[in-house]
């Protein structure tokens, strides 16, 4: 990341109109968030007294709501800020890979998520760790998946705050000397978010996502129609981008980036796309969105129409190049160049204040939706797979919901303190690591959907190897300009030597260790855990009864005297 210090930080003016629009939209969204507690409640009692109600919105979201919810959940504010920022500073390899990533994502979702939905519906699983625990009969494996999910999600929440911060900075708030006053708007935004998430659970982000997505589509469509013609067409824009990215970096003497990747980065490009796509639906917040749908096929139908968001993301990425041509100057309050300000600044410079306000509000609200879902998903993991599994096995649904609500507050305040108290770059580093880490839960979750071949302890060992290798490799990447560690997510693959995404290297090792150890443990006759699921569960749809109901019925039907031998 370039940090050309200027002599004197320019004073930012507050754009009153844009700020007013942002505040009005923010207040409207907050009201909507609180009202969401009453939305689609049906016969459930007030107060959302179970995780199915609070944490999964009653498990009843249909196609439209799911489209908005998952769109708002997966394409986060940080994505909207970071992808154009990466395009603006280094070009295609670190920025535009987001498009193939979110394209190949959907065949993977189509393949896996209907099975996960079915088995979770039958057994009442709320989290991916619930499924792993039930499938392998291993609390250790379930704990490993839960902890990875929580740890990987926390920095992701923090980065949503970074997204809001970028908007506030461009609006001219957040300067000045007083540290508390500087962060006050951010604190207010998060307190409001925490309050309505606590009250309404998953229904709040689901309802807000509709508003946020419509605003984002509006902003991107208008920008992509108006801005290129205003700046002389895409030909001129790509010419300017080419010229900027070919300029050698003053420290390393190498070009800062490229508009079209050269042959040496082909493997980095596709492994980044594939690895990220495999990782995304291992994140607990994505799975929360899937399990909140009302039928087995809702997620498959959505996989057909969700790619529309990827098209929007592609256009948004191109705005990074538009900003190069437009000469946008993303100068932070301390006077340094901060690429994350590129898109908000582009809107503020080139549109009337009120429309810039709408676009900036869309980004800020876009941070609230995923932050809410992520905090719900992380607290569900804690409640189900740590609190219930290890601390209080007899916790009833009402107390689980109570614990989850409280933990969701803790998670959000943790993220807030993280962003205010620590350097932004540590949040970014941790999120990079989080992507590598969450990918290491893929073998346990995905293989489990199809086969019980892997041994539970082999999966635990594979996970551990993947985490250690991935972390060490990511630490060892040194930024050539700043000499800082965690300089990127690409490193030469062992044996091959070609640069690839570290997450994929670690994943391959993880899989190898899991497979070899499975053979060893089987040979040694180390016992498998008890599998609660059966083959028929993976094809169950919404009309099939839950396993609880099945077993109750079986008990009634069965005369005690004719019990078959077990």
């Amino acid at each position: 990341m370039t940090a050309n210090l200027l002599a004197a930080p320019p004073a930012r003016d507050v754009d009153g109109v844009a700020l007013a629009v942002v505040i009005v939209i923010f207040v409207a969204v907050a009201v909507l968030g609180f009202l969401a507690a009453r939305w689609r409640r049906g016969s459930a009692p007030a107060g959302l007294k179970s995780l199915d109600e609070w944490g999964l919105g009653g498990r009843g979201f249909g196609g439209w709501v799911t489209w908005f919810l998952l769109g708002g959940d997966l394409y986060t504010a940080y994505t909207f800020i970071a992808v154009p920022a990466a395009m603006w500073s280094t070009g295609a390899v670190s920025g535009f890979f987001a498009v193939p990533y979110t394209v190949v994502l959907y065949p993977i979702v189509f393949l896996l998520m209907a099975r996960l939905w079915s088995v979770s519906h039958r057994h009442g699983f709320v989290t991916p760790a619930d499924f792993v625990g039930g499938r392998y009969g291993s609390r250790a494996l379930s704990l490993v998946v839960a902890v990875t999910g929580i740890v990987a999600t926390m920095p992701y929440i923090a980065l949503q705050l970074v997204g809001i911060k970028a908007v506030l900075t461009v609006l001219g708030i957040g300067g000045g000397g007083n540290a508390f006053l500087q962060d006050l708007p951010l604190i207010i935004a998060f307190v409001v978010l925490a309050a309505y998430t606590y009250t309404a659970g998953l229904r709040a982000p689901a309802l807000i996502a509709v508003v946020k997505d419509l605003l984002i589509y509006l902003a991107v469509v208008v920008a992509i129609i108006y801005l290129p013609s205003h700046f002389g067409g895409f030909g001129a824009i790509f010419g300017a981008a080419q010229a900027k990215l070919a300029t050698p970096n003053p420290v390393t003497g190498l070009p800062t980036g490229s508009v079209i990747p050269g042959a040496q980065s082909f493997n980095a490009y596709w492994t980044l796309a594939l690895g990220s796509a495999m990782a995304l639906f291992m994140y607990p917040h994505s799975i929360t969105g899937v399990l909140a749908t009302k039928s087995r096929n809702t997620i498959r139908r959505n996989a057909v129409v969700l790619p529309l968001y990827s098209l929007m993301l592609g256009f948004l990425a191109l705005l990074g190049y538009v900003a190069i041509k437009a000469g946008t100057k993303p100068i932070d309050v301390n006077g340094a160049v901060n690429p994350q300000l590129v898109v908000p600044q582009l809107f503020l410079d080139n549109f009337p204040s009120w429309f810039a306000g709408v676009a900036l509000a869309a980004i800020a609200v876009g941070a609230l939706v995923p932050a809410a879902i992520m905090s719900i998903a992380a607290s569900n993991l804690f409640t189900r797979n740590i609190y219930r599994d290890f601390l209080k096995p007899d916790a009833d649904p009402a107390s689980q919901a109570r614990v989850s609500k409280l933990v969701s507050l803790l998670v959000k305040f943790g993220a807030l303190i993280f962003v205010i108290g620590m350097d932004q770059s540590s949040a970014i580093n941790l999120q990079l690591l989080g992507g590598i880490w969450i990918l290491q839960t893929f073998p346990a979750i995905v293989a489990g959907l199809y086969t019980r071949w892997f041994h539970r302890w082999a999966l635990v060992a594979g996970w551990a190897v993947g985490i250690v290798v991935g972390t060490v490799a990511a630490y060892s990447v040194v930024n050539p300009a700043t000499h800082a560690h965690f300089g990127g997510s690409i490193a030469p693959a062992p044996l091959l030597g070609t640069p690839v995404y570290i997450g994929v290297t670690a994943f391959v090792l993880n899989l190898l260790v899991s497979a070899v150890l499975t053979l060893v443990l089987r040979a040694l006759h180390v016992p498998d855990g008890r599998d609660l699921t059966r083959a028929s569960d993976y094809g169950a749809d919404e009309h099939d009864p839950k396993v609880e109901a099945l077993e109750a019925r079986a008990d009634e039907d069965r005369p005690p005297v004719t019990l078959p031998p077990a």
Partner: protein, 93 residues
């Protein structure tokens, strides 16, 4: 654990093979970078590298739409076969 009662009648391999191939195409082809890592031909000023990848948004959506149709049809057949009155009770998956 026993597999009773089944939720669907046994599947036919054909539809699942077709869907598997289509999904594999949808995942693998957009990742073959050498095919599209060049500037020409441009489309309204966009280099090939950019518009080709964005085109795949539509191609993948189309592939998944076809897959959805095939899977839903076969899925319905399997459920109807099981739920229809007089369906073979001993059908095991």
């Amino acid at each position: 654990m026993s597999d009773e009662p089944p939720t669907r009648a046994p599947g036919r391999p054909g539809p699942y093979i077709v869907v598997g191939v289509l999904l594999a195409i949808g995942i693998a082809v957009p990742l073959i970078v050498p095919v599209y890592a060049h500037a020409e031909p441009t489309l309204i000023g966009l280099p090939f590298f950019y518009w080709y990848q964005m085109l795949w948004v539509f191609l993948d959506a189309g592939l998944l739409w076809i897959c959805y149709g095939i899977v839903r049809r076969e899925d319905r057949r399997r459920r109807d076969a099981l739920r229809a009155p007089g369906a073979a009770r001993g059908d095991r998956r």
